[in-house]
Symmetry: C2
Subunit: 572 residues, 2 copies
């Protein structure tokens, strides 16, 4: 069976644009004589449409679009994800459906059975689960259709069975000849390998080939990596689409014997640090494109975070569309100022310098009558960060540039960042990247031959070496460094990963890492207490298993005591 994998990059809510993408892929699949073309989950609306699904107009337009697309499926059958009204009188009002469009009409509709409702996923908020084996006949062969999570309830690989149903086993036992899976599976470092294991398992176990089509592109916090593929009945990858860009791959899949008229095409996915870089570039580029920003602005401190952000912004939007602003204060070192300009020069982007002293002086005098008799401290330090924020937002407002937030995950975790100051911005591109991984990114960027940001002579790495090697500092008071208030980042990152991503208790972290119990408790407490800052943070591009933002929903006014001491005092 000749099958096309249509790995498209839909824009959430832009039903006309997405319909056009789908129509064009159907046409190209037909031209290459594909019998079947497969699209991602909810391709008509883009994923995740979130509460747009509550709008009756969204559903009406989706229905119009799918009906129209069905009329375009004459020689080729298409499987297209879309939100479908649940015709039953009971249950949630929608189905997360795949329409099988054939011979000019909607031939069948299948509903997703397993609705992820954890981390960033909210599918039980909208959808009623399907419960039938989703089989459709095409040219005498039975397509076994599933949608994303339907494929993930693998008893061997998934530690806890969240669902009572196993749609894949149902499809196999009902005589499917091939698995077809429409997905919208966001990028997470390391997830690709897990996916491949899962797909190979399913194919081998049931001795059936598997077609997996994933969405690609950035939608707010989520970055979809593509990496669509076909696995044969023995578990071998016979097609692998590109990562981080649109692709249309056509392949002959052997349902009985091994035979292929088309050459297999395997695009090797990038390794992990290169994938993170590419994911962040795509996430920023798509956020700008889909929101309508052509240019970006960011503060350049001379430090590592803003340097890596500048590289990503230049890669995403072009050097001519990125502006840096260096905003030295009385505490900024000469090195910081020159590193900022050197970086901009290396990248070929504009850089302005605006010392913040005039506003800083004025503000200090304004608060003086209120603060009289109090020692200067954090309040005064924050004023500097916030005045920089005012300046950057003024630039952003004036020129319609997206302000890029530069903070990393380690800072965001412990609140080592100023709300309404350096946290300002439309998109936080490093806020799910731990500090040590920021260093890794910077070294990768600076490795010859790694990334295309090197100047044409190839003589000079993009990031000034000093930005990488000097001790990190917020420069909000004389001779300040991050390590005045924080443990070494090697340790901090480990604790953050265990506490935030893996939900480990502080006790277990101490036991397993041998870290100092007081250090761990202090960090865990800082993480808990800074929820109020993160509540008001810019959207964070997600690249780990648990990012701050939509997928981590913590109360703010809460007083959980992880030590259990108060409870023990009470109940003995």
């Amino acid at each position: 069976m000749r099958i096309a994998l249509a790995q498209i990059n839909p824009t959430v809510g832009d039903i006309a644009y997405n319909t056009q993408l789908i129509r064009s892929a159907i046409e190209r699949a037909s031209e290459q004589s594909a019998e079947l073309v497969v699209f991602p989950e909810l391709a008509i609306t883009g994923y995740p449409p979130k509460d747009l699904l509550l709008k009756p107009e969204v559903l009406r337009q989706s229905e119009r679009a799918i009906n129209y697309l069905a009329t375009r499926c004459t020689s080729t059958t298409a499987v297209i994800g879309y939100p479908c009204l649940n015709e039953g009188s009971t249950g949630r009002s929608l189905l997360n459906a795949a329409a099988v469009c054939s011979e000019g009409r909607i031939f069948a509709r299948h509903a997703k059975s397993l609705l992820p409702t954890y981390d960033v996923f909210d599918e039980s908020r909208y959808f009623e689960p399907g419960d039938e084996a989703a089989l459709t006949e095409l040219n005498g062969k039975k397509l076994g259709i599933s949608i994303c999570e339907d494929l993930w309830n693998d008893r061997e690989l998934v530690p806890r069975q969240l669902y009572h149903d196993n749609p894949i086993e149902k499809l196999a036992s009902h005589g499917a000849d091939i698995f077809v899976n429409c997905s919208a599976s966001p990028f997470v470092v390391g997830k690709h390998d897990f996916r491949m294991q899962l797909f190979r398992n399913a194919a081998r176990k049931h001795h059936l080939p598997l077609v997996y089509v994933n969405q690609v592109g950035g939608n707010d916090e989520l970055i979809f990596d593509g990496n669509s593929c076909v696995i044969d009945a023995s578990g071998n990858v016979i097609v692998q689409a590109k990562d981080f860009e649109e692709d249309l791959v056509v392949v002959d899949v052997a349902l009985e014997a091994r035979s292929s008229k088309l050459e297999a095409r395997i695009s090797e996915p990038r390794d992990s640090i290169a994938a993170v870089y590419e994911a962040l570039v795509l996430g920023l580029r798509d956020y700008c494109r889909k929101c309508g920003f052509k240019t970006a602005v960011l503060g350049l401190s001379g430090g590592i975070d803003s340097a890596v952000c500048a590289c990503i912004a230049v890669a995403a939007l072009g050097a001519e569309n990125v502006t840096g602003i260096s905003m030295p204060s009385r505490y900024s070192s000469d090195g910081s100022k020159s590193d900022a300009h050197l970086l901009a020069e290396n990248l070929g982007m504009a850089c302005h310098t605006v010392p913040i002293e005039p506003a800083h002086d004025a503000m200090e005098q304004m608060v003086q009558p209120l603060f009289e008799g109090h020692e200067p401290g954090l309040a005064e330090e924050n004023i500097q960060a916030r005045l920089r924020g005012v300046l950057l937002m003024a630039y952003s407002n004036k020129f319609g540039s997206l302000l890029v937030t530069t903070g990393n995950k380690s800072e965001m975790a412990v609140g080592y960042c100023t709300l309404y100051g350096d946290m300002n911005g439309g998109l936080a591109i490093l806020a799910d990247v731990p500090k040590m991984m920021v260093y890794e990114l910077s070294r990768w960027i600076n490795t010859p031959g790694s990334c295309p940001l090197w100047d044409s002579s190839g003589a000079k790495p993009p990031i000034p070496i000093d930005s990488i090697t000097k001790p990190p500092s917020a420069e909000l008071r004389p001779d300040q460094t991050d390590q005045d208030s924080l443990p070494p980042y090697e340790l901090l990152d480990q604790i953050v990963e265990r506490y935030v991503e893996r939900e480990q208790s502080w006790r277990r972290i101490v036991d397993e890492t041998g870290a100092d119990a007081e250090d761990v408790q202090r960090i865990v407490q800082l993480i808990d207490r800074n929820e109020y800052k993160r509540k008001q943070a810019a959207p964070v591009l997600k690249i780990t298993g648990r990012a701050f933002g939509f997928g981590r929903r913590m109360p703010i006014a809460q007083r959980f005591d992880p030590s259990g001491a108060a409870l023990s005092d009470l109940i003995g």
Copy 2:
């Protein structure tokens, strides 16, 4: 049967404190010879615990707490809501359970069947639904236990049946003698009447009495109004606990004949505008108390929003704990400055004046080289709002005062507010209150005998009349008023209510209100386009059916076109 309704105000995550509240209520119920004492849903953790439920330590401590509390139930049986591990190997790992504690042990555990997963509710994220009739025998009578939503699947009153199951009917058909419902049902204007209708229906339909115990208190965005009650088998309210405060009511409920040794106690709930006021006061007071703030600060513009906020803050924290800051600019009218001070004087709170001119001047000169050749506009206006934000945050940081955000729902809807400016703050107390309701609140506050903020002489209403009567203005440029850019608030509020709360399309709004189609489309577009601001807003106290915040989850980079024009162009 003598039953105690324990309407407690738990703090989310504070298991020791909540356990103490529960223990003390069990003791007081025993002293009054109650056979049964009923607690709210998830009383041990407080509602909503959100992702605290993913922490193994939270579950371990909850289990310890419930086991301990069971040992305290000797003469009185208690029904206590708590998160319980799901012992099944499949399905989500928790149950939203009620433990029946009797004779010193946990006698039975029942799991909630209907798990709300819409608006602010995420229960399918954590819990596996129960599917058994939750009956427990007490002194020869069968208690039919349900948890919150279990009671809400009423075929007559709820437009769409979201669930296939009806736990109440199941309990009745299995021979329950009384319905016992543990709830955590947040306040919404007008919801109390609906609840009462629902409860009366259930009681009358099955001819069984119903005991409803709700949580009280503010937890982040949600305010729980209490209003616990008992309905007799004929649908009459025989007990009504207080609204907006903790209460313990003991009542004899007739299971066979009508008889009561205790006098019925019915606390009349407040009417709607008074309830909104009380809800906001409680929401702010509890947020401060549970986060550890003793004092609050807010900007006083002389306008109506900040005046109403000041009243609420003074009512919540006491005048001595609230500080206003008036921050006039070159565009501020004399009236605005004097109204701010008059308000503070009426309320007995401190008020400082800090003109923003020095920083405003400095910042204008700093941006001048960057902005050269561009006309002044929104960027310059926003600088003023943001400098005020810097000043207020400096005060907040210096003195550990919560900054109260003063914007209303109408502004938040259309983005008539400055991100990192007047949107700054820890809690937005009016951001779910439409402008017309802010006026209503102000008039109610100023009505003699309404609220206790009047000065002791009773001669002067708290809010200066000018603040209520003058045309609203942001005062960011000369002679500006809100109506330069916005339609009249009467119309705006109507559109916001229909579009945001009821998810009506712009077409339907035009049809049903007769409003100008262009006006409606423009407002709807403004609401859609300002999602990025609301993403970074402070938590919003919820008082309507749909507030901005946790219960409304919109994508930002989205391009849904409500007119459908682009789709029509494409597909004809």
